[in-house]
């Protein structure tokens, strides 16, 4: 039994706050806000400290907490962080912290709102920190369920879909994905010989997994997580969910929750089943093209602001998938970095949309227009967000997408089951995706913010107080800081990714050695 205060604190503080909130009088909203702010600020500080304290050349997992939970089945509360985790923790704590600030506009059942929000946060932190398959799933579901109520109770209508429809769809999709993956996780648990069975990811990594097993079960686990990423065509829950959710929840949802899937693919798919990943990810490179281009095209045809950002998220997550599919340090680091960048960026987007939606009660572009006149601050932030999202330099999104694209350019995608090797094609699509992204984002900016001011919106109030401005400023600062000076964060991510990818590359080398003798001439012919 080892305990590291940092990893435990990051998990326990939101949990403790959740429990504390149960016993607060619902009328004391100021107090409730206070607790929520504190409970999100402490993890922010702790995750920052963890980042600072993380040794990029040290142990693979640091800040390890290991508390036996159900010893007879090898289950323990095992927490720890590598570089990838640190990036995700920073992202989560930032989004949580700012999310609490932007949800100040909520007046209905404040207490329940924060209980669920913090419960959600606990779950997300738990997933990122878990070094135990069981708790990975446990925390994941813990994050999904509060979402149902958060969207259903405090959400809003999403175009032709009611919020209830949206939230149900989201919850079912996410649970279906998770349960699907759970079967895979259990199979992973049982492939170990009797007596050595454990849910401990570190031990499983050390033991290694049979290659054939990996090839059979990797798709199961991957598909489970892919529904969360969300990979085309399993994505349709996501835009509707985004659109229906209240600000803070959209922020968390798009900013953090969608990253859980990719994180799961990395931590479990790649970490434990490197050969499976090596075998299958070629197909993913093709599918993610659909994400990028198709998501972008659908976003182009949308008029509801949140739908635009929602589909753009699925487009951006296509880049994450592409980065993962490269199976190289550059691409995967880029993907993780992009997870971080996209998380911050979408959080910003949804925070801003929520801010004006609270006043306009419409997000449809045709109703808006010229609002930058009335809301210069929010408008400026939105333009900055759009720039970041469109992949302009100076923001982390650009840096990370660049890494993904460069990484992907050199990658060869072998389609398992066929003798086809694809090169360049996904990258070309990804680069074209940048154009598509620009189109719909600029259109949204033009239609909502620019153009002649609409007298209908004369009464709109801009963000004026520190409390109102702070979350947006913080997110923009982080986005630009990491975009201009990615070094430190990227080093952290890289150290984590390198540890994971070493095994994948080794598996790939073995695979190539097995395959090459007979199929080498084929590859030549099929290239390009």
């Amino acid at each position: 039994m080892t305990i590291h205060l940092f990893s435990l604190a990051i998990l326990l503080v939101p949990l403790a706050a959740t429990i504390r909130l149960f016993f607060v009088d619902p009328k004391q909203t100021a107090r409730i806000h206070g607790i929520a702010k504190l409970a999100t600020f402490i993890p922010l500080v702790v995750s920052f400290l963890m980042w600072m304290g993380y040794d990029t050349s040290g142990e693979k997992y640091q800040f390890v907490t290991d508390i036996p939970w159900v010893e007879s089945i090898g289950l323990g509360l095992r927490l720890g962080a590598d570089g990838i985790t640190i990036a995700m923790l920073l992202l989560t704590s930032l989004v949580m912290f700012t999310g609490v600030y932007v949800s100040g506009s909520i007046t209905d059942r404040v207490k329940e709102h924060y209980i669920l929000l913090l419960g959600l946060g606990t779950g997300v932190f738990g997933v990122f920190l878990s070094l135990d398959l069981f708790f990975f799933y446990f925390f994941y579901e813990l994050a999904v369920i509060p979402m149902f109520l958060l969207i259903g109770v405090w959400g809003s209508r999403a175009a032709q879909y009611s919020k209830e429809y949206a939230t149900t769809k989201l919850t079912l999709y996410l649970t279906a994905g998770a349960v699907f993956a759970l079967v895979g996780l259990l199979a992973l648990y049982f492939q170990a010989p009797e007596g050595a069975r454990t849910f401990d990811i570190r031990k499983l990594e050390a033991m290694g997994v049979d290659t054939d097993f990996q090839r059979v079960w990797f798709p199961v686990i991957f598909l489970g997580f892919a529904a969360i990423i969300p990979m085309w065509p399993l994505h349709s829950w996501s835009p509707i969910g985004h659109a229906a959710a209240p600000s803070a929840v959209s922020m968390l949802h798009a900013g953090v929750l969608m990253k859980l899937g990719a994180y799961g693919v990395l931590r479990i798919g790649y970490g434990l089943m490197p050969a499976g990943a090596d075998h299958w990810m070629g197909w993913v490179a093709l599918l993610c093209v659909m994400n990028i281009l198709y998501g972008g095209m659908v976003a182009m045809a949308q008029r509801d602001m949140k739908f635009i950002i929602g589909f753009s998220s699925s487009s951006h997550m296509g880049y994450v998938l592409l980065g993962l599919a490269t199976l190289g340090v550059t691409g995967v680091s880029g993907a993780v970095f992009l997870m971080f960048a996209h998380g911050i960026m979408t959080a910003l987007a949804f925070g801003l949309i929520g801010f004006f939606y609270d006043q306009t009660h419409t997000r449809v572009l045709d109703d808006l227009g010229g609002m930058i006149k009335q809301m210069p601050f929010i408008g400026t932030c939105f333009v900055i967000m759009a720039m970041a999202s469109a992949g302009l330099p100076g923001f982390a999104n650009f840096a990370s997408e660049l890494l993904v694209i460069v990484g992907s350019w050199n990658a060869e995608y072998t389609l398992a089951g066929t003798s086809i090797t694809v090169r360049y094609l996904p990258t070309i699509a990804a680069v074209w995706g940048l154009v598509v992204t620009g189109v719909y984002l600029l259109r949204a900016v033009r239609d909502a913010w620019f153009g002649p001011p609409n007298p209908r919106w004369d009464g709109l109030k801009d963000a004026v107080t520190f409390k109102q401005k702070m979350p947006f400023v913080v997110l923009i600062l982080v986005l630009t800081y990491t975009g201009c000076f990615p070094g430190r964060l990227l080093d952290t991510i890289e150290s984590g990714v390198r540890n994971v990818m070493e095994r994948v590359e080794a598996a790939g080398a073995v695979d190539a050695a097995e395959v090459s003798p007979e199929s080498a001439p084929d590859d030549e012919g099929a290239a390009k």
Partner: protein, 517 residues
């Protein structure tokens, strides 16, 4: 061992005696005391239950690990398994009586009969945990069943209650006939009514490749008879009707007590079929596939049937079918891990179901309706009840951090272990292995479907506005039931988050069940 088995050792059945005495005293008390004051005063029966349960716990504490005590010349066994389940049954009965008190206050009649029948049923459940032969099994099961027949039709002025009773009686009697017919064949196959006599035949069948038609036929019918009790497809049809028609506390008792009794017996029979080598029928591919098919059908039926329900009790009836399916997944695993999973599942199920039904009783007391529609805005009218019901439903759905999740998790775990093990056993078991994996995925689908209808209720509770004019009308949980609700809530969370100690209990129970004596 032989000595132990031939001893009478009547004291071992002390909890049962306490219950019997309670029943008899209550019967006399009911007959003698004037009508008005026994309404309330019959509540002392609750303490009889408490005493019996406490007695079980004390006996259990006094036992060494892995020890099994015998009484009635080896026809009554007591080990960790039976102790744990008896405790569960005792707790169930006590909780049900607590709920029933509240409900009876409203109905205002039949207090004594309700308590008596509850005690009888509980007594049957206690015996079920300890019987070692088919005669006892059958009689104890019938004691439960007949008590439940009467309890179901307790509101005899209510057409629905009587209808539920009729359906239950007719189908229950048919099921009993099949069970008996099956026992007859097993008796023919083994030459004995003892459960453990099955093992030898089963092992011979599984390993020697010897054909055992009598065993198979008998076992099939026994499974059908018990499958009726736990509401497994295709013997589940009674469940929604009876759940809907019966009084709510009875439904609660049915869904936990009756089902758990069936499960207990199934576990005992299954264990017997494993034989001493603990492999027995667990290595018979057709049987595995048979259970897998039933489990899959049950899960799907329960999940699908509940989707369009508008009555919460009916919904819970379907949900109960679904849970039977998940429990059967544990049987498909057919080993110690599976049994431990089932035991844990039952523990989790107990607190969850009682919590849910307690809320249903309280809410019904105010709004006089079981329509899900009328639960709209419950969280506004009573945050506590809304919260408890939500936790309960989500626990039923199998979502962390609630108890139901870990139960389901263990079942899945056991099942996939079995699937993997079957896969390693060679080509003869390929079909069994594949079907077992398929069951895991069907189970996963079932979780999603069932989550849907539970969430629809949660949606009512939290998202919908209370019906016109009722915003001002809060629903208050009575103080005594509040305690019960908190206890259930604690159970739901503890079993869902701090699994270690409970898992140890479940595992010791399963170990005791599987142990060779």
């Amino acid at each position: 061992m032989i000595e132990a088995m031939s001893a009478w050792n009547v004291g071992l059945a002390l909890p049962e005696w306490i219950l019997t005495a309670t029943a008899l005293v209550a019967l006399f008390y009911d007959a003698r005391s004037p009508a008005d004051d026994k309404k309330e005063s019959i509540k002392w029966v609750w303490f009889g239950l408490l005493a019996a349960t406490a007695c079980v716990v004390i006996e259990w504490m006094g036992m060494k690990t892995g020890e099994k005590a015998w009484a009635f010349r080896g026809h009554f066994g007591f080990d960790a398994f039976s102790a744990l389940l008896k405790t569960l049954f005792g707790l169930t009965a006590m909780m049900v009586l607590s709920i029933a008190d509240h409900w009876l206050k409203r109905v205002d009649r039949g207090h004594a009969e309700f308590h008596l029948l509850t005690i009888f049923a509980t007594l049957g459940m206690f015996f079920v945990c300890s019987v070692e032969d088919f005669a006892g099994l059958f009689v104890a099961l019938e004691l439960i069943t007949i008590s439940f027949f009467c309890l179901t039709a307790f509101k005899r002025n209510d057409e629905r209650a009587i209808e539920a009773g009729i359906k239950y009686v007719v189908l229950g009697a048919i099921a009993s006939s099949f069970l008996l017919f099956g026992i007859a064949f097993l008796y023919g196959a083994t030459g004995s009514l003892r459960l453990d006599a099955l093992g030898g035949v089963a092992e011979a069948f599984a390993h020697g490749g010897e054909d055992a038609p009598l065993l198979n036929f008998g076992l099939l019918l026994v499974i059908i008879g018990l499958g009726f009790k736990i509401a497994a497809v295709p013997f589940q049809v009674w469940t929604p009707d009876v759940y809907e028609g019966a009084a709510t506390p009875v439904t609660a008792f049915l869904s936990m007590g009756s089902k758990a009794a069936g499960v207990t017996l199934l576990m005992k029979v299954a264990r017997a079929c494993l034989g001493d080598g603990a492999a027995g029928l667990a290595t018979a591919a057709p049987w595995i596939i048979f259970i897998v098919v039933i489990a899959a059908a049950t899960i799907l039926y329960g999940s699908l049937g509940a989707m369009f329900q508008t009555n919460i009790k009916r919904l819970l009836g379907y949900s109960s079918i679904g849970h039977a399916g998940y429990i059967l997944m544990g049987f498909a695993a057919f080993d110690q891990a599976g049994f431990a999973a089932i035991v844990y599942y039952l523990m989790a199920y107990l607190f969850t179901v009682i919590a849910v039904f307690a809320v249903v009783v309280i809410v019904n007391g105010v709004i006089r309706s079981h329509r899900i529609e009328d639960y709209s805005g419950l969280a506004r009218r009573s945050p506590l009840l809304g919260f408890v019901l939500t936790c309960g439903l989500l626990s039923l759905a199998g979502v962390p951090p609630f108890a139901g999740f870990f139960g389901k998790f263990l079942v899945f775990r056991a099942l996939i272990a079995k699937a993997g093990a079957l896969g390693d056993m060679g080509p003869d078991y390929a079909a069994a292995s594949v079907s077992t994996y398929t069951l895991a995925f069907i189970g996963a689908a079932g979780v999603v479907i069932s989550l849907y209808y539970y969430l629809m209720v949660v949606k009512r509770i939290y998202m919908d506005a209370p019906p016109e004019g009722s915003e001002e009308q809060p629903i208050v949980a009575p103080q005594r039931l509040k305690g019960l609700l908190y206890a259930c809530l604690a159970g739901i969370f503890l079993l869902g988050m701090v699994m270690g100690p409970f898992m140890a209990l479940a595992e010791s129970a399963a170990a005791a069940l599987v142990a060779v004596h």
